[in-house]
């Protein structure tokens, strides 16, 4: 099953390499990965789309948590959330095909961001299904190039990732104990 995992990390060099290395080294899939700074410039958010059976996803989350630079990991799958992707499509279209392209763009509420006598560059955001449908409709009309970014995602409502994380962890089958694996501030010293 596909999972969208949101990872809050220290905004430091090498973090992306640590995360992608974790996935490749342990043989986990990455369908897509996006990363950018958050409101707080010392942190970045990564949105990773991956797939695997439940135990694998559980390991992925635990292994991510093990990385020192990872502040918070939330599996958004199963949480009420919104997801968006963006795509740029270059279509070569002349004559009446231009009309057809414009109609489709209109229906999907896409945007023409570049026009030339030979064709268009179109921008569209939406969930994965919408984007797939859009690209498939345009294909017979002459799609030359597609640039698609990974998914970004966020829980619905006013809760931030942190509070969602708590409720998600409570639901996990290992019960309340796993709250211990969440990362908070503290000295972490071993007892004497």
């Amino acid at each position: 099953m596909r999972h969208t995992i949101s990872v809050l990390v220290e905004n430091q060099f090498g973090v992306l390499a640590r995360i992608s290395g974790l996935f490749s080294g342990r043989g986990y899939n990455i369908d897509s990965l996006t990363v950018a700074e958050t409101l707080d410039p010392t942190t970045s958010r990564m949105t990773i789309v991956t797939r695997g059976e439940d135990p694998v996803i559980e390991q992925i989350i635990k292994q991510l948590n093990r990385l020192i630079d990872v502040i918070k990991v939330v599996d958004l799958t199963g949480v009420d959330h919104v997801e968006r992707e963006i795509v740029l499509v270059k279509v070569v279209a002349q004559g009446e095909k231009r009309e057809e392209v414009l109609r489709i763009v209109d229906i999907f509420r896409g945007k023409i961001i570049d026009v030339s006598p030979e064709g268009f560059v179109i921008e569209l955001t939406g969930d994965e299904d919408k984007i797939n449908a859009f690209v498939n409709l345009l294909k017979p009309l002459g799609v030359k190039e597609v640039a698609r970014a990974g998914k970004v995602a966020m829980p619905r409502g006013l809760g931030k990732l942190g509070s969602v994380a708590k409720s998600v962890e409570k639901e996990r089958k290992e019960g309340p104990e796993l709250a211990g694996s969440s990362k908070g501030e503290g000295s972490g010293a071993l007892p004497a």
């Binding site: 135990p55 990385l67 020192i68 104990e177 211990g180 694996s181 501030e185 010293a189 071993l190």
Partner: protein
């Protein structure tokens, strides 16, 4: 406040961290640090190869429970540490490795002796750092030590560009270490602990499956106290050896591929496996899908990712072993005596069964009068040292014999390379262990192949007069490989003989150490006794019977129930 150079900050921060010994090897990128070392009272041990430095740091850490430290130069110095770092990562050994790096402006230019050691070691360190600003140096060093020794311990690497070691800044020692993204759970969740205890009390066929986490948590007493209170059988993993008394009536022996029949069979037939600081490694579980089919699992570990990785855990308890076991002990202590007695009674049939298994197939070998059996030497080492010793091993048959017959009363006394299985580990690790605990005899049980991999460290042992005793169980074979070729490749021996073996005793003498060659059984004990008396490194070359095999054995990929207890009847 006084300005200090990066090199001075380095030394001062190490000193405040309580570092008394560094294992290292100099070079261009660390010249300022080595220069500053002359002004400090930190002891530097000059090794003969950087891999040796890291294994020594590991041996030091494993024997003392403190963080081991290695210091090397950039490029080849750094890449030579990789095997040791990977070893420490697999076995969760707390070490910090400092590597020199080319000056910041040259990084990325393929400069002389540049290697991207942070990139190379990313997958085999708990964490690593490249210092890019002298003002971060002290904080990074503090964090490195903190990360190495807390939670599930592990190696941390700090890469320091040369220019940073000569720049100057005002030094403030960061008293507090704060990492918002790192806060290992120490105390187990009380609800889970109670559930865990309930699961044990409901079981009829329980076993304690105790691993290396117990040693790192210094929870030996806690394991014993709880096991004794509940009268539950205890089996140890290779890494857990030393955390439960070898002569204890509740001790079943070692688990795993070459573990005892009793330990493996008890595990396989248990209805409750209480895993303590162990990780269900494939060498222990055998074929996973047939592993302990009737068991439920309670698992205590400080690393959540170890739990539920290979088996579905019924009661996970994340926390420091010592703390969790103490809570469990208190809960049992508060129980009515009659309830505890009822539990003892409930598992009595299980004990009867276990005793039968043990009588059927005790751990044994057939001794020989013709030649020297490796197992015989191992047993005599434990005798001669009066079970008061630290043992390090290399990797191969000798390692398994050292483990099977292990008995030492010392804590943290079995030091071996379990996860990575690194030949060449044992001898430098012994030097590190002896430096950490000079008052306890340290034996390295090695093989002819393994010893050759880091024998250059004889020089180090001689220079610093580190009186480690090396017992090479010399079968003139890469014995473990030969055993597999004998059993699974129709005796087609491929590249398991080194036709140019050195005379190890002469080799020792060439370095200025004491060497012995032992070819007769009657000489084994006298030589061991003699070696104990010598105040300096001793290399003993025991010529053992060549084609002895390690039994019991669970063939790779087989289930624990397919254990082979001994050689086929002739």
């Amino acid at each position: 406040m006084a300005e200090m150079t990066g090199a001075q900050i380095f030394i001062e921060t190490l000193r405040r961290e309580g570092v008394d010994t560094i294992f290292g090897y100099p070079g261009g990128a660390v010249l300022y640090i080595y220069d500053e070392l002359l002004n400090s009272d930190i002891r530097h041990i000059l090794v003969r190869h950087e891999q040796g430095a890291v294994h020594m740091a590991e041996g030091y850490a494993k024997a003392s429970g403190k963080v081991g430290v290695a210091l090397v130069t950039s490029g080849p110095g750094a890449t030579n540490t990789v095997t040791g770092i990977a070893d420490a990562y697999m076995d969760s050994v707390p070490i910090v490795v400092f590597t020199g790096q080319v000056p910041l402006p040259l990084i990325g230019n393929d400069a002389f002796q540049e290697a991207d050691i942070v990139g190379i070691t990313r997958p085999c360190t708990k964490h690593n750092y490249l210092v890019k600003d002298i003002n971060d140096l002290a904080r990074i060093i503090r964090q490195a030590f903190f990360i190495a020794k807390t939670g599930r311990p592990g190696p941390v690497l700090v890469d320091i560009p040369k220019d940073i070691t000569i720049q100057k800044t005002e030094y403030t020692y960061p008293e507090e270490v704060r990492l918002r993204s790192y806060n290992p759970t120490v105390e187990g969740h009380m609800g889970q602990i109670k559930r865990g205890l309930r699961a044990i009390l409901q079981s009829r066929r329980p076993i304690f499956y105790v691993g290396g986490g117990t040693v790192y948590s210094s929870a030996e007493e806690e394991v014993r106290a709880l096991a004794e209170k509940l009268k539950v059988p205890v089996a140890l993993t290779l890494m857990g050896l030393g955390s439960f008394p070898a002569h204890h009536p509740q001790f079943l022996g070692m688990l795993g591929m070459h573990g005892t029949y009793t330990a493996n069979t008890t595990m396989q037939n248990a209805d409750l496996i209480f895993a303590i600081g162990s990780r269900f490694d494939d060498r222990v579980t055998g074929r996973l899908k047939d592993f302990a089919p009737h068991a439920s699992f309670v698992h205590v570990d400080i690393d959540p990712s170890s739990i539920g990785k290979n088996v579905i855990t019924d009661v996970p308890i994340v926390g420091d072993i010592r703390s969790v076991l103490r809570s469990l002990w208190r809960l049992v202590e508060e129980m009515p005596k009659s309830e505890v007695a009822a539990f003892h009674k409930q598992i009595q049939p299980w004990w009867d069964q276990i005793h039968t298994w043990n009588q059927q197939h005790p751990l044994k070998y057939e001794d020989s009068e013709e030649g020297i059996k490796a197992q015989y030497v191992v047993e005599r080492i434990y005798d001669v040292a009066d079970e008061n010793l630290l043992v390090t091993t290399d990797v191969g048959q000798h390692q398994m014999w050292a483990a099977q017959y292990f008995r030492s009363k010392q804590k943290k006394s079995f030091i071996t390379s379990g996860g990575l299985g690194t030949m060449g580990f044992g001898f430098p690790a012994a030097i590190g262990a002896k430096v950490a605990r000079p008052d306890v005899p340290v034996f390295c049980i090695s093989g002819d192949g393994s010893f050759l991999m880091n024998m250059q460290e004889i020089g180090t042992a001689v220079q610093y007069n580190v009186p480690v005793k090396v017992a090479i169980l010399n079968n003139f074979y890469l014995g473990m490989v030969r055993q597999w070729q004998e059993l699974f490749y129709q005796r087609r021996y491929s590249e398991v003989v080194m036709k140019a073996m050195p005379d190890f005793s002469k080799l020792a003498e060439a370095f200025g150490a004491k060497g012995f060659t032992i070819k007769k059984k009657k000489d084994v004990v006298p030589v061991l006794k003699e070696a104990m008396k010598i105040d300096g490194p001793v290399i003993m070359d025991f010529h053992v019977l060549r084609e002895e095999n390690v039994y019991p054995m669970i063939p790779a990929g087989a289930s624990l129930s397919e254990i082979v207890v001994g050689p086929p009847e002739k």
